[in-house]
């Protein structure tokens, strides 16, 4: 009942290689991994490929099939036309070891850098009490099988080796999100960590990671965006922002991180090529997020800050030193009205209640 199908499989190692043609028998109901196994048992006994469960549960068998990152054990042959040549290549983002096997140690290094769960100090084992609704958000992320398909597809590192150091990738953003949403995790700085150490700011929400995730985890909507939102909230502080604007004009060195717009810039050394996007993505990602959200009524109201003063305890600007006649606008001279909605502050009466 089998039919002969054409396959092109990348064979080689770190020194190079090429696509080789194979004609293989394919039976009804088989997946790409079955075909690779048949090749191993016949023509190509040393064809290297990872797999374990053949059931989409372990995340070992990731490869690129017709250019798309996929689990080969979950890719049915019936999804291809009979005359279609199926091209199988190793994951592009990671260095090749041999044939379809790549060196994914990048991911394990990033995993090791992400701070682990911090158990609450005063709760004994066996006394953990959590409601199902509260654990569900983290549970979604814990479905991750670490197939690293999201990692390989993310454009920030897919073609930009140089970004790998500063960028952990979507798999580890959702790890941070998972811990952030864990009802009993004792650490409170998961978001700040994601921003400052994991390179969350590089991500411009192209959602490619969500699209490839075989576990259907809503990586961007449920993980990355909420992580970004709160980082924005914490960092956005109009008074600091205003103060620094004035500073800048007065040529006083700036010390504040001023707005969400530059979230990704905490790594001053981060290469600029970081924020690329492919077709369909926006070039001004944070702005796009803001726009998608509309007005953020739940934003935390900034704490009042003392005015920035000089060494003499005076405001750096006086009428005498100022460069124009009349008093400066209390909002900063470069502000025009009406203010963009995302700059509004409004404490909604139910702001502190959880979202659902």
């Amino acid at each position: 009942m089998g039919t002969k199908r054409e396959f092109r499989i990348w064979r080689g190692d770190e020194n190079g290689g090429d696509l080789q043609d194979y004609t293989v028998e394919v039976n009804e109901g088989e997946v790409v991994l079955d075909v690779i196994h048949r090749l191993q048992a016949t023509e190509a006994p040393d064809l290297a490929c990872r797999w374990n469960c053949k059931a989409g549960k372990c995340g070992s068998c990731s490869m690129e099939i017709n250019g798309k990152p996929r689990l080969s054990c979950m890719t049915r042959m019936s999804t291809f036309e009979e005359a279609e040549t199926v091209t199988v290549t190793p994951l592009r983002t990671f260095p090749v070891i041999r044939d379809l096997v790549t060196d994914v140690s990048f991911n394990y290094e990033k995993a090791r850098e992400t701070p682990a769960f911090a158990p609450p100090a005063d709760v004994a084992p066996g006394d953990y009490r959590m409601q199902q609704v509260d654990v569900e958000r983290s549970q979604e992320f814990r479905k991750c099988i670490e197939c690293f398909l999201c990692q390989t597809v993310c454009h920030v590192i897919r073609d930009h080796e140089e970004n790998k150091q500063a960028f952990s990738g979507p798999r580890f953003f959702i790890r941070a999100a998972e811990l952030d949403m864990h009802p009993l995790d004792a650490r409170t700085d998961r978001k700040e960590y994601a921003q400052a150490e994991q390179g969350l700011g590089f991500c411009n929400i192209t959602k490619c990671c969500t699209e490839v995730c075989p576990e259907h985890i809503k990586i961007t909507d449920n993980g990355i965006i909420p992580m970004k939102e709160r980082v924005v909230d914490h960092r956005y502080d109009p008074l600091v922002w205003l103060g620094s604007k004035i500073f800048r004009r007065g040529q006083v060195p700036q010390t504040f991180v001023t707005s969400a717009q530059h979230g990704g810039a905490v790594h001053s050394s981060a290469p600029h090529g970081g924020v690329h996007s492919h077709a369909g993505g926006s070039h001004d990602a944070p702005h796009e997020v803001e726009a998608q959200r509309g007005v953020n009524w739940r934003r935390e109201v900034p704490h009042p800050t003392a005015p920035a003063t000089d060494a003499n305890g005076k405001l750096p600007l006086t009428e005498l030193t100022f460069d124009r006649a009349a008093a400066p606008s209390p909002f900063g001279d470069d502000i025009t009205f009406p203010l963009p909605p995302e700059h509004l502050n409004f404490a909604h009466p139910s702001q502190d209640e959880p979202k659902h």
């Binding site: 109901g29 191993q40 040393d46 064809l47 290297a48 041999r98 096997v101 090791r112 769960f117 814990r142």
Partner: protein
Amino acid sequence: MTETRIERHHYDVVVIGAGGAGLRAAIEARLAGKKTAIISKSLFGKAHTVMAEGGAAAAMGNMNSRDNWQVHFRDTMRGGKFLNNFRMAELHAKESPHRIWELETYGALFDRTKDGKISQRNFGGHEYPRLAHVGDRTGLELIRTLQQKIVSLQQEDKRDHGDYEARIRVFSETTITELLLDGDRVAGAFGYYRESGEFILFEAPAVVLATGGVGRSYKVTSNSWEYTGDGHALALRAGATLINMEFLQFHPTGMVWPPSVKGILVTESVRGDGGVLKNSDGKRFMFDYVPDVFRKQYAETEEEADRWYTDPDNNRRPPELLPRDEVARAINSEVKAGRGTPAGGVYLDIASRRSAEEIRRRLPSMYHQFKELADVDITKEPMEVGPTCHYVMGGVEVDPDSGAAFGTVRGLFAAGEVSGGMHGSNRLGGNSLSDLLVFGKRAGGHAASYADQLTARPAVAVAAVEAAVETALAPLQRDTGESPYTLQQDLQAVMGDLVGIIRRENELVDALARLAELRERVAKVSAAGGRRYNPGWHLALDLRNMLVVSECTAKAALERQESRGGHTREDHPGMDPKWRQVNLVCSLDGDTVRLTRKPLPKMRGELIGLFDRGELAKYLTDEELAEFDALAEEASK
């Protein structure tokens, strides 16, 4: 011999296997301050444990406060048909709740009850809902949690010593091919990196085996390529013994059709949540297969069975929830009687019994898996299922308290599926995951204290290393032998056809003859290609392990002339109380497998007192019963 590069490492404890048992053992050894290595054939976090779906059994009593360790102990012994090592079953029942709670402190997020505790679900053979679970991906949660705990220990070490790997290091994609001894003591382990084919030598006084099972010797199996019985074989060659090797669990409901999902399991929770088994006549046949010992606990009519789902206290459970071996045997009989599906299975139907929405909510990954892999919609059509090789009860004979291997070797420990005794002749669903944690911790801890009390480190002999190198390279250097893939297929055919779920004397004799033939061929196997990530070579090296373990199974299966748990002899269909007193012990004598009989340890009075006499009468000999009566009389005085 040509110059071969061998990387050398020194550790206090080497753990072979990165599944639940291995990781838990490594955590314990590291917490005891030992320099620990974890070795795994696959990547970190991919071991077989990720595949476990149903849950981890622990008598926490969250769903029913009547549950406690005594009840769990009773269920385990019953499931194993009283062949279990009672002490292991006792420790397991007592300690598993603590091991589960401990996982929460590592960050695990189990599904919750209304009052915020860990939710527990029903499973075949367990009297109360007892399985802590996370949807149907409990194994993933377990392994990820342990993996992340190891990362957190590494972060501590980084903080204190400046290096993540100061005290615990993971060697992934590394296969151990040989244990090295100094006299009767473990001195180290030898293996190769799969990636590069380079050799690696670990010098360590204590080794914990946690290599999992042997299922790859069978054609239809839920097990992955890792399950070639390496740990079983390593232990044998090091002078340890294996017990209960005749007992293999065939999961009753593996998919038999379509081929892309063949061997994939349909979790027991499908039956726990209302799924029923039907033959090709549409009959719900399990009611015809309730054995006498279970008669009291199981419903006799469909009506009563259906009421149980909503009112478990006042109704008896549906026979679909009988222990696995009973279900597997029932399916086998139906198929043999000509009432099976075209692909040789039976129907498992949940579609007609629960709403599509409910099925999707309760069995999310099951639903997606079949939809994506096979285009089967389990909310619309019944599944075609049949027995699949799933779990090996047999394994390294160990001291129940410490996990130290018996036999002539010292410094060798075993935990998890590779160890034997805990589950007797049949494992209850969910008992494995908790077994990994309980005995993983014990083995890791005792390996650490064993290493502590040594006054001198055992030394690795150069000759032994040279021999190991030679054995490992041999298949690459031969080009006259057969392909390892052909040999594996032949081995699978022998085991599947002749040492499968139902066994007969003449077939077993035949199997042994064929295995002997295969042994010759395996000794001459040749692998094409080089040393870098060459799966053909890897398989060639695994074959000899699969072979020796298969011989153990076939020999023990021939010897045990009764049917019990995971061992069914068509020519000896009944359970024989005399055989309950016997463990079959395999050891290696030079090259050949030697089989000896050994009496089972006797259960302590207070433990046997947990059962009622009527039940014991089905398992014990008359002398044992007389002893029990004497005990009972004394107690009542």
